[in-house]
Amino acid sequence: MPSSVLAGMTLLVLGESHMSLANHLMEPLQANLTQQGAIVHSIGACGASAGDWLITKKVDCGAEQKGNGSIVIKGREATTTPIKDLIAADKPDLVVLVIGDTMASYDKPVFPKAWAWQNVTALAKEITANGAKCAWVGPAWGKEGGMYKKNDVRTKLMSAFLSTNVAPCTYIDSLTFSKPGEWVTTDGQHFTVAGYKSWATAIGGALAKLPADAISNKGAK
């Protein structure tokens, strides 16, 4: 395997429920990034929106994985941790955020753009202010309906909103990784193991293609 731009980099990967349960996104993404030579710490918190990573908030479930270790599943003791504290502890070159579905209000008639702007810009600014680069992975196509009422129109809107508002983070557009309905879901929003493996591979590939100055501040001086 040729050397990746991620080799030797320290990555902090944060996400929502996709990153909070076994056989979801955390394990294949952790494996992919670790295989590229990155030092990876992943934390998931079910239902956490961007702003929840500025505070400590109890969530219903979560997970954590470090390096080649096994995933640790958390129940109701799971919380988010302020990003400032996480960056101080891990000193990551790059923070990877998998946040989108928790902020799209799929089941509501109106997209909460002022709230989304408040949350997204606050987290992006906080990461930058604490000296890390960031990459923001947007939502992937799900299946219309289901218990979360995920739908293609709102998914596209959420992705478009993130693409123009996560700066200075780099946006990773998951909608380019598959066609609507291509990745099979279990509930309209969460994917099967195969779907998550495909998503992880695509995210890992997209991160590997980023320019060096989008991965780390080191050497940029």
Partner: protein, 223 residues
């Protein structure tokens, strides 16, 4: 803009508004039931303005040298109530702010006192790659209130009606603006400095004894 912690807390408590957005605590919430809403205050008068949420609570004071507050989050489900105090004058404030709305309450000189003007905005131009500039007009003495880049003839904003605003996305560049009333330059150019991508800015046209004047602020949210 620096505010004391107690003042910010008091304002937040006053409006019972700190991010209490309805969330469905199912396994996986997908966003709030309704959008966020915000309020800020501008003191366009010649004396300090106190914004009081409830009697007995410390006011948020807006000095004339620093006349624009942060935007504070509020709940759109209930009215925002308080009192504006300017010298011996007290004005009751009772506003319903809609989801997604950014309300700017301006204390405008009126005779020997002030009047309050609320200008409401439902922005739809959030974009981290551009700067966003708004032009508020609460000055009835300026006909066809317009704003131009200093030294240029093209309008950034043209004939903004009284007690309203216009907003547009612009490239993040260094910018000075010139007020134009009835197609004639009024007052000196206002230097906004180097605008930053992702930031939102306001220029406010307000009346004064000396004539129309411009205030400017960055639209910053309180945390």
């Amino acid at each position: 803009m620096t505010r004391t912690l107690s003042t910010v807390c008091a304002i937040a408590a006053l409006f019972s508004s700190i991010n209490v957005l309805a969330a469905e605590f199912a396994l996986y919430p997908t966003g709030p039931a309704e959008d966020a809403a915000f309020i800020r205050f501008v003191n366009a008068s010649t004396v300090a303005l106190d914004v009081i949420a409830q009697a007995g609570q410390p006011p948020m004071r807006l000095e004339t040298a620093q006349p624009v507050s942060l935007f504070f989050p509020v709940q759109s489900s209930s009215p925002v109530k308080g009192t504006l105090v300017s010298g011996a004058q007290k004005l009751v404030m009772d506003l319903k702010i809609e989801p997604g709305e950014f309300a700017t309450v301006i204390a405008v000189p009126d005779g020997t006192g002030i009047k309050q003007v609320a200008v409401r905005e439902q922005p739809d131009d959030f974009n981290g790659l551009k700067a966003s500039l708004a032009f508020f007009n609460v000055d009835a003495s300026c006909a066809e209130a317009s704003l131009r880049p200093a030294g240029r003839s093209a309008d950034l904003f043209k004939s903004v009606p009284i007690d309203s605003l216009q907003r547009r996305s612009i490239n993040p560049v260094s910018l000075s603006v010139q007020l134009v009333c009835a197609n004639a330059n009024v007052g000196p150019a206002l230097d906004l400095g180097e605008l930053k991508a992702g930031e939102r800015y306001s220029v406010l046209l307000v009346p004064s004894i000396g004539g129309s004047r411009l205030l400017n602020a960055t639209d910053t949210l309180s945390h």
